[in-house]
Amino acid sequence: MAATETPIRPAGAAPKQRLAVLRNGWRGLTSMRTALILLFLLAVAALPGALLPQRSLNASLVDKYFADYPAIAPVLDSIGFFDVFAAPWFAAIYLLLMISLVGCVLPRTVEHARALRAAPVVTPRNLARLPHHASATLDVGIDEAAAAVRERLSGWRSAEADEPGGTRTFSAEKGYLREAGNLVFHLSLIGLLIGFAAGKLFGYEGQVIVLSGGGQFCNTGILGYDTFRAGLRVDGTDLQPFCIQVDDFTGDYLPNGQAASFTTDIGYQSTEDLDAGRADQWTPYTLSVNNPLRIDGIRIYLQGHGYAPRFTVTYPDGQQRTGEIQWKPVDLTTFLSEGATKFERPGVTDEQQRRTSQLAVTGLFAPTTSGGPVVTSIFPELRDPEVAIDVMRGDLGLDDGRGQSIFEIDRSKVDSGELVRVARANLVPGQSVALDDGTTVRFDSVQQWVSLQVSYDPGQNYVLVFAIALLLGLGLSLSIRRRRFWARLTPLTGDDGTERTVVEIGGLARTDRAGYGEEFDRMGAELVPESASTEAKDG
């Protein structure tokens, strides 16, 4: 165990007290022990990120946590436990770790570069003191013995020297790639973090729902998205332009309702297409769950799907309005969905009248209805659709200046009596329901929608490159052993004048105890057969 390396820097006399404090602080920060503690802290600090709901992943779970634990949730929130990976203390830990790493690894890189040029360490005087040791007296001359050693040491970095009395020594070292791997590994970590950070700063991610059957989306600005998460350096003004048209969505299901596959046929126009004015040409592509579209560094994913029932309202004066908007699946196994399709009566300009004539068709949609009086869905595929709707009339509250969910009506308007139910019915496609004023609401058909995610992360290719370098470095540093080998050949002349040579060999593993012993034994078996091999401990 004596040979594991811990970076040690010579202590110099500090000219000034303050400098000494700084130097000690730096030395402390870049010591292995500090690295170890920081690694621990990092592991512990990440833990609440796994155990508690996180805003970045699921804000509604955080809200639920607040409702369930009103006493402790605000405390946890104030210390950032619901946004662990954006918390300053989390950043402080990994930044300190990175600084420590740089401070540790850069001097080691310099040291290693120097070691690569230096000759192996000279042969110690007493080889018997080394962890691995063997010796024997051979009936060969010193030149022959030296040739054997030389041959055995091919592939090692080695040096020979003469000592007084005709003695030859060899010193050799092998496994430099271990340290190189270790350095590559640690430096890659830094590269990886920088790539990750760059992606967070300059990247963005947006979700948008597009109706299948020809719905289109163009990446022109943040407003086109339903939700958008911009990196700190993204203001949304110059997004890479492209357009998508969703032609068709297909979901295949097993008899038990489990999804078997999802695909959606789309067409796209890249920036180049748009610049060239090819506005009516769409390049076809099939998006599926593990298969995003990659254009111009942007990725487009199929993230979800659902149904959009289509309703037509026919007013007493014969005017018609058609509404088709996505409803939200509330049960992901049967795709029972809910939503609210909203209508304004055409041609009404009087503000007061407008506010009493708005309509909303709300309720439940079943892609495959159970057929009972209460509509439920028994299968996620569109086989036998039915809706159970309430038609609401009055003031939808669209002008209140508050954003409202496209899936719901404003409940407060119902409570205040400004929005009242004027009909309730279960409809299959083609059926309609009549309101008291002669208006009819018809359930026409059902369209599918898909939710697409658009992602841009300029850092991710760098992250991948560094991750691969990291893995290679790790492999090298863990599989290669750095070890030293020495031999001392002393000539003897026997009483009968024959030449003999005392061969002494010694070995030292400079890295962990992962067994230099076997290799040394093999070398010993070749160089000093029938020797008295000793192995104090596997250095």
């Binding site: 811990t6 170890l36 592991a43 990120g49 662990v84 489990q258 999802f262 593990n290 990725r299």
Partner: protein
């Protein structure tokens, strides 16, 4: 609708557990009959003083039962492999699609890791009982509570990334079971060694602290790069499937924690004052975090990784 092959796979699974239990019994006999323990005690003043060349005892009842135990473990591993392959063919997909299947594979890898490690470090033979115990418990849980019959997997899992990512992650998890057990027993062994006057006990027959430590280290340095590869493969898959390569999903977060803990283990082994018990504690914590990820995160915390077939 289980096919004949699926039923055959289940039978093989049961046979595997049976053979492992038998091997445990043989290991138990070998362990309690081990007389070489006294020899170990002589050098018990400090773990570092012992010769790493110490071999498993070669003669006597203990050795005989020990060898039979190893033979049975090999037989068990073959049946185990057969069960997994048969299941894969029955479902006609890679047989790592739900928790029952992960656990089965993890246990197979733990057993294989143990058999290979035993060849390299024969003196660790008495550890067999302690490696098989968690394996049998896991297999039992897998085969009862977590069992699901064969079936296809949901669309997100139908990707070659599943083969690469899930296989490497489960393989490394299985391998890491061996160091987890070895480090835990290392800590026990150090306790025992610290009090040589305490009189003989069964614990004296544990492999020496040095052997346990070496075993833990050697298996960890094989498993850790595989785990790292599995994480990278997971990130590549996530990039294709979920729209980002890393998003701090609970499973990702705990995998990150495990990775950092194992990195800390390797550092601890190179840090003065941490080499012995400190490093062993870290290794035990590492394996605990893997188990936590397997059970708690799959079963309690909802995340994107909710494919465990428990829903």
């Amino acid at each position: 609708m289980p096919t004949d092959l699926a039923i055959f796979s289940d039978r093989l699974y049961m046979a595997t557990v049976g053979v492992y239990v038998l091997a445990m019994i043989l290991y138990g006999i070998a362990y309690s009959a081990d007389r070489s323990a006294k020899a170990v005690l002589v050098g018990a003043a400090g773990a570092e003083q012992e010769s790493p060349q110490e071999q498993a005892p070669t003669g006597g009842r203990s050795a005989r039962f020990g060898r039979m135990g190893v033979a049975l473990v090999i037989l068990g591993a073959l049946l185990h492999l057969g069960s997994i392959v048969a299941r894969g063919i029955a479902a006609w997909r890679w047989p790592l699609g739900n928790m029952y299947e992960f656990i089965s594979f993890i246990c197979l890898m733990a057993v294989v890791g143990w058999l290979v490690a035993l060849r390299r470090v024969p003196a660790a033979r008495n550890l067999g009982l302690f490696v098989l115990t968690p394996v049998v418990i896991l297999l039992f849980l897998g085969g009862t509570v977590l069992y699901v019959s064969t079936g296809p997997v949901v669309p997100p899992l139908q990707s070659y990334w599943m083969v690469i990512h899930v296989t490497t992650i489960s393989a490394s998890s299985g391998l890491l079971l061996v160091p987890g057990v070895a480090s835990l027993l290392f800590l026990v062994r150090r306790r025992v060694d610290a009090r040589p006057d305490r009189g003989p006990s069964l614990l004296d027959r544990l492999p020496s602290a040095e052997v346990l430590d070496r075993l833990a280290y050697r298996v960890t340095i094989v498993a850790f790069p595989i785990f790292t590869f599995g994480l990278i493969a997971g990130a590549l898959w996530a990039e294709a499937a979920w729209g980002r390569f890393w998003g701090w999903d609970p499973k990702e977060t705990v995998a990150f924690i495990s990775w950092v803990i194992y990195a800390a283990y390797l550092h601890a082994r190179a840090t003065a004052g941490w080499r012995a018990s400190g490093a062993a504690w870290v290794n035990v914590a590492g394996f605990a975090s893997m188990i936590f990820n397997l059970f708690f995160v799959n079963m309690v915390i909802a995340g994107l990784h909710s494919y465990a077939g428990l829903g």
